[in-house]
């Protein structure tokens, strides 16, 4: 044990893959791109450079998951989401390392971000069976009618994850989408996709049904255009959209009247409120006569 090189073990690199339909495919294009640390120097890994077709496949997977997930009980969704938090908690160290690399944070700050992400996820897990009571309710119409408004998921939501916060930002935009019963197609932060891709593994090892969350890495500009125009996408979260593209993406989304959440500056550690939940909810109002 005198030789230093004998003491060093050659580490096993991880092949980062997409997470689509509950599986971990490579990009159908066969392309990858280099991911470096936040300073742009050190190579961290190759990430799949997803194509338009990968985006299309992800939408198909998401659509397929909608009936089951939106039809699951709110309690069940809460249980599943909480399980995700448990899995994430168990991999804190891995994520702290990935976040530190991705965002150039100190170990302690990265660990704090991961903790915040776990807590954020737990927060949303608890919302699944409460949001309907907060935003829905009985309407006192002037007539012999039972009238009830309830929130329902919008359907398939394409999410451009924030570029500035690779894990806390990601869970902050993703959790509300699925907590409300939607299925998501997420485009990970372009330069820092590794925590997002690893998060796919967390989801897969939880009880999240296949297709409820689909995670793509690649060029945000390349992937966002087909998603914004896709006719089977119901909602579009532009949080991580490139500033010069946001307006065009919103305009493309107008063709099928998608629900669009515009980009806005956010401090990810702030109380998120309920607006990210209600962004992806429709209000359904049911009337029925009251008579014997």
């Amino acid at each position: 044990m005198s030789d230093k090189s004998e003491q060093q073990r050659l580490s096993v690199f991880k092949t980062y893959k997409l997470y689509v339909g509950g599986k971990f495919p490579r990009s159908e294009s066969g392309r990858v791109y280099e991911v470096t640390d936040s300073k742009g120097g050190t190579w961290l890994a190759n990430a799949p450079l997803s194509s338009r077709k990968d985006a299309r496949d992800a939408v198909v997977a998401a659509r397929k998951a909608v009936p089951g997930w939106s039809g699951a009980t709110a309690y069940n969704r809460g249980q599943v989401l909480y399980r995700v938090a448990e899995m994430l908690e168990g991999r804190r160290e891995q994520f702290a390392r990935e976040v530190a690399d991705a965002e150039g944070l100190s170990k302690s700050k990265a660990a704090a971000a991961v903790d915040a992400a776990v807590d954020r996820w737990v927060w949303y897990a608890g919302w699944t069976d409460k949001i309907a009571q907060v935003v829905g309710g009985a309407n006192p119409v002037a007539g012999p009618f039972f009238n009830l408004s309830t929130p329902e998921p919008t359907g398939v939501v394409a999410v451009l994850a924030p570029q500035d916060s690779s894990l806390l930002g990601l869970v902050s935009v993703l959790a509300p989408v699925i907590a409300t019963g939607n299925a998501a197609v997420v485009v990970a932060a372009e330069r820092a996709p590794l925590p997002a891709l690893s998060f796919g593994e967390v989801l897969a090892s939880s009880d999240v049904p296949a297709g409820v969350v689909n995670i793509l890495s690649g060029r945000t500009a390349e992937l966002s255009a087909p998603l914004a125009a896709h006719q089977d996408v119901n909602g579009l979260d532009l949080t991580g959209a490139p500033a010069d593209l946001a307006a065009d993406l919103e305009a493309a989304a107008a063709d099928t009247l998608k629900r669009v959440r515009r980009p806005s500056a956010e401090v990810w550690t702030n109380d998120p409120g309920t607006s990210r939940l209600t962004s992806w909810l429709e209000t359904k109002t049911v009337w029925h006569p009251i008579g014997v």
Binding site: V141, S149, A254, T256, L257, T283, T285, V286, W287
Partner: protein, 479 residues
């Protein structure tokens, strides 16, 4: 069924209650004014083609002036205590009630819809809407949008011709309650009731510039939507225009709500209360000549009761009284415009050409004005244009289904998602269907019911945002 013995004598509502001026201006900053370029257009009564008045036609310069007036007024209106804003709205609600007969007759004249509907549906709902939102003005902190939700500023609102005053109420009441000021463009075929509403605002003492009314065409609407100093855009109308608006506001800070088209399925199961279902079908598609975005324009009837239901429906349709909208016994009035009549006619012809069977009861239509008999198409499939496109007229397409799953599949098989109807006596089936139908309003064992407390709005390409109820405030608050 013969109805010869007991023929109802004409029972016309007097139009003397409406004092129509020969011409009307734009209502900007509390004053009526000509358009900057002096352009005018004529508004006609669709039941007779009689010219009712000449109306100033707003252009881009007028839009700019109105938005400036609204912006100026916003400073003090938005800062007014909610309780004071609420009192203005209560005043407006009361004056609308007092003047409801006058406004009903006016609406019937300008729109062509039966007086029975303007009197019994439109006007009561208009007043109720203002009354409802008046009460919210000083309770916004309790609406679930934070402790001190702020208004957005100037709301640019564009409304359709099918319920001119009611759509005005849906737009203006929540906007003012939340503390916004408004510039509203009524439809070019129905500008009059909005201009009379300006007079209601005057009587209520509403501060200048809080409400501005700009009669005009699509170009004025487009200019309003695109105006850089508009903070909020609210539109009710076609999906096509809704898309264009969504594109226009893309990349801006403007908040948008859109209430667009629909192709609602009205689903009748074999255990339905048949007589009430038939009433619901008739009310669903022939109410307001079918000029209703949430009209039940696709009847999905279970195959096992198809004949029974259709026989009853034809019998009932034969008793519909089509004609003079001012006659208190008229059930179906005039089509709103020659353009709309042409569209309905074209789609009905397409229905025949595609092989559906067309039926209408024998009814004598007036010789002047725009008319279309209540019409039924049977043998319609999902592929037919009349099953997919919004006709916006008194034309019902009948399709059949065998199982609840098939009914859901067919009902949801449309880019629209505004409303749906379910008719069955089985409670658990109602709840199951209601949860599976992708539509913002589901009427079970009833149809076309509206209430200011009840949120209204669509899924998918029927638009976004809700009008009515607590939910309706969100569109006008900075939240």
């Amino acid at each position: 069924m013969a109805n010869e013995k007991f023929a109802y004598a004409p029972a016309p509502e007097s139009r003397a209650i409406v004092d129509l001026a020969p011409s009307y201006g734009l209502f900007i900053d509390g004053e009526f004014a000509d358009a900057a370029d002096g352009t005018v257009f004529k508004t006609v009564s669709p039941s007779s083609e009689e010219v009712l008045a000449e109306v100033a036609r707003a252009g881009e310069a007028d839009v700019d002036r109105a938005v400036k007036a609204a912006r100026k007024a916003f400073g003090s209106w938005g800062a007014l205590p909610g309780a004071e804003r609420g009192k203005y709205l209560f005043r407006i609600a009361r004056i609308l009630q007092e003047r409801s007969r006058e406004l009903a007759v006016l609406e019937t004249l300008d729109n062509g819809k039966p007086i029975r509907e303007t009197r019994d549906v439109d006007l009561p709902l208009v007043a109720a809407h203002f009354f409802y939102y008046a009460g919210w003005a000083d309770k916004l902190a309790y609406a679930g949008y934070g402790p001190d939700p702020r208004p957005l500023g100037v709301a640019g609102q564009v409304i359709p011709w099918n319920f001119p005053l009611l759509m005005l109420a849906w737009k203006i009441a929540p906007a003012l309650a939340a503390g916004n000021t408004v510039v509203l463009k009524p439809a070019e075929t129905t500008p009059l009731s909005a201009l009379f509403f300006a007079d209601v605002c005057r009587q209520a003492g509403l501060p200048r510039g809080v409400v501005n009314i700009l009669p005009g065409y699509g170009d004025a609407g487009a200019a309003l939507v695109a105006h850089p100093d508009v903070d909020k855009v609210a539109f009710t109308g076609s999906t096509q225009v809704g898309r264009a608006i969504a594109r226009t506001v893309a990349g801006t800070r403007k908040k948008v709500t859109l209430e667009l088209g629909g192709k609602a399925a009205n689903i009748v199961f074999d255990d339905a209360p048949v007589d009430q279902a038939v009433e619901g079908i008739v009310n669903g598609i022939f109410f307001n000549q079918g000029h209703v975005c949430c009209a039940g324009s696709r009847l999905l009837v279970q195959e096992s009761v198809q004949e029974e239901v259709l026989d009853a429906l034809r019998r009932r349709m034969s008793t519909l009284r089509v004609g003079d909208p001012l006659d208190k016994n008229t059930d179906v009035g005039a089509i709103n415009s020659a353009e709309q009549l042409a569209r309905i006619t074209e789609l009905a012809e397409a229905g025949e050409a595609e092989g559906a069977q067309r039926w209408a009861p024998a009814c004598e239509l007036p010789t002047s004005g725009y008319w279309f008999a209540p019409t039924l198409f049977t043998g319609v499939t999902q592929a037919h244009r009349i099953a997919r496109e919004e006709i916006f007229g008194p034309v019902l397409s009948v399709l059949t289904f065998r199982t609840p799953a098939e009914a859901v599949e067919k009902a949801n098989n449309t880019p629209y998602g505004l409303s749906a109807g379910i008719w069955t006596e089985k409670g658990s089936r109602i709840l199951s269907m209601a949860s599976k139908l992708r539509a913002g309003v589901v009427w079970a064992n009833t149809f076309n019911k509206f209430d200011p407390t009840s949120p209204f709005g669509g899924y998918k390409e029927s638009g976004y945002g809700r009008e009515g109820g607590r939910h309706g405030l969100e569109a006008y608050l900075d939240v």
